[in-house]
């Protein structure tokens, strides 16, 4: 049983069915006690200063945990992944490419999943069984998500944490499920937190370490974590190809915007925070989001390193929440 790293969400059903342990390198990087030193290690190796912090983190964490095999998403994520896989390859890591077809082509996606299945020598029926087991856990996480926006019992950070963890089930589905069960039962003791300002967080997960905490200290709460929710596969289907076809993250911005608009309406969101990573091509998508999603205010927030929010970002978030509070007062 080996550890299989991956660079962004892939069909983990296949990896679990093979008896290996999938590890989302993003999650291990950001949960590392000293994630900043991982970024520095990559820079010492020669990664440029003006390069995505996540890519540096992925590299350093693969080295730190001595990961021997990495599934690299070569289409549906960023092109920095190409060079990352080549550098890892140079360091002796086995690279398994996986590509989400740009146009959501069902046949091409099926081919990709089948190739992955063959690489790990897994039978189709074992993948189906694996999916059933994981879907049961995902459903519990969907419940946590609902309890965030509907019952107001879950904080923005907790929502983020449980949703984002479904990408690899923390490498141990059984233990993860137990954690979820304990968390859900602990919620019974809580009282609803009906804050004045309900926020949606869109874009890649934040690299900042205290974002949700700061938002809540200022009277706001994130009730929608767009990409993290996608990692938890929110659309129910028995077909694994369909599941990874409905998953919005790797397929361009317009499908994502439709999902965001729907959730803004359902979850009664007052404002959106669009998080963009420094030096990321997704910063360009901010322009599309702003021109398409113009019903509610959007704050674009840029992060670089895995550290606490800087004073300037704090001022911007504070001003944004204050503006939404005043807007709500006026509308009531």
């Amino acid at each position: 049983m080996g550890k299989i790293g991956f660079t962004t969400t892939i069909p983990i059903e296949v990896i679990f069915a093979s008896g290996n342990i999938p590890l989302d390198l993003n999650n291990i990087f950001i949960n590392d006690k000293d994630s900043m030193s991982l970024v520095r290690n990559a820079e010492i190796k020669g990664f440029p200063r003006n390069m995505c912090g996540w890519i540096k983190g992925l590299y350093a964490v693969a080295k730190k945990h001595k990961i021997k095999e990495v599934i690299a998403v070569t289409q549906g994520d960023c092109s920095n992944t190409y060079a990352l896989m080549e550098i890892l390859q140079m360091d002796g890591v086995k690279i398994i490419p996986f590509a989400y077809p740009y146009n959501r082509d069902k046949d091409l996606l099926r081919l990709q999943i089948n190739k992955l299945r063959k690489t790990f020598k897994v039978k189709e029926r074992d993948v189906i069984e694996s999916k059933k087991r994981l879907d049961k856990i995902r459903e519990k996480v969907h419940r946590i998500d609902r309890m965030t926006w509907e019952d107001n019992l879950v904080s923005g950070f907790e929502n983020h944490l449980y949703l984002v963890s479904t990408s690899d089930m923390n490498g141990d589905p059984k233990k993860f499920e137990k954690d979820i069960d304990n968390f859900i039962s602990s919620l019974r003791k809580r009282r609803p937190n009906n804050v004045e300002v309900r926020l949606g967080f869109i874009g890649v997960p934040p690299i900042f370490t205290n974002l949700y905490e700061f938002i809540e200290a200022k009277g706001g709460r994130v009730v929608f974590n767009e990409t993290q929710r996608q990692f938890a596969m929110p659309y129910r289907t028995d077909d694994i190809v369909e599941q990874y076809r409905l998953y919005t993250y790797p397929y361009g911005i317009f499908g994502r915007i439709r999902d965001i608009e729907e959730q803004v309406r359902i979850r009664e969101i007052h404002g959106l925070i669009h998080y963009v990573q420094a030096f990321c091509y997704r910063q360009l998508e901010d322009l599309i989001i702003r021109s398409k999603e113009n019903k509610i205010p959007i704050l674009t927030l840029e992060g670089d390193h895995p550290i606490e929010l800087d004073a300037r970002s704090k001022i911007r978030i504070e001003g944004f929440i204050e503006m939404l509070k005043n807007k709500n007062k006026r509308n009531n």
Partner: protein, 259 residues
């Protein structure tokens, strides 16, 4: 007596308001301010207002001991510990200041400070949206400061030129220095260099200003005193730019006035 303090990245602005008039307005260089008056306390930096007395002209020491209200805004306000101080956001302070100074309630306010650039869209007294620059201070007041220093001219002189601008690539406060030296060596006239510097700042701010449609454009912050940038905004928008009487004190004024 009400005291308003705007903790800017470049300068600290203080205003003393008796409910009717401003009896004193003062600026202090930020780094000097913290070095001279700041004392590290348990809850951040502690400032004793009485220490200020020697630096003020029209404010009796009693007022510094016994004022009605003290309101603080600006960068680092959450780390400052002054007894009985109320803290308000920069957006709020600047909007209140602009409403007080111009008498307008619907406008686009652009505040160009030392490092910060903010564009705030206000309709009937309410903030509808705002944009603030992030991380990088390129094209802010600090850049203008550096460029004026390199050219050996005053900021006022720099702000006079907008015709025949030299194309400038970098508005970075640091990299801009070597670029300016390069242009000087190429033999450009100082007037053209100044116009190029002003245009570089304009090019940074114009796409942000352009996001909001508004008939009334208000310009604040230290950079508002640069006539060339004001002129460039007017030429490109076809609208008049209103610079209030105290553009640099706008945030501090917003701390003390009622709106």
């Amino acid at each position: 007596m009400r005291i308003g303090i705007d903790l800017g990245s470049r300068e600290i602005k203080l205003v003393f308001y008796n409910g009717k008039d401003f009896i004193e307005m003062k600026k202090y260089e930020t780094v000097e301010f913290y070095k001279r008056f700041g004392k590290k306390g348990k809850k951040g930096i502690r400032i004793d207002l009485v220490d200020f007395h020697s630096f003020l002209e029209n404010v009796p020491i009693e007022i510094l001991k016994n004022y009605d209200k003290l309101v603080i805004t600006g960068y680092g306000r959450n780390n400052l510990n002054i007894e009985n101080a109320e803290i308000i956001s920069e957006i709020n302070a600047h909007v209140k200041g602009a409403r007080y100074q111009t008498g307008l309630s619907s406008f686009t306010l652009t505040d160009l400070g030392g490092q910060d650039s903010k564009v705030i869209f206000v309709k009937e007294g309410y903030v509808v949206d705002f944009i603030m620059n992030d991380k990088c201070a390129a094209g802010g007041g600090r850049y203008l400061d550096n460029m004026a220093r390199i050219l050996g001219i005053t900021l006022d002189k720099l702000g006079e030129y907008y015709k025949n601008p030299v194309q400038i690539n970098s508005t970075c406060a640091t990299f801009g220095e070597s670029e300016m030296l390069g242009k000087l060596m190429e033999g450009y006239k100082v007037e053209e260099l100044c116009a190029g510097i002003n245009e570089a700042v304009f090019n940074r701010i114009f796409p942000i200003m352009n996001r909001f449609e508004s008939d009334k454009l208000i310009l604040c912050g230290g950079v508002a005193k640069n006539g060339a940038i004001k002129k460039m905004i007017e030429l490109n928008t076809g609208r008049e730019v209103i610079v209030p009487r105290y553009p640099q004190f706008n945030g501090a004024i917003g701390c003390v006035v009622d709106f």
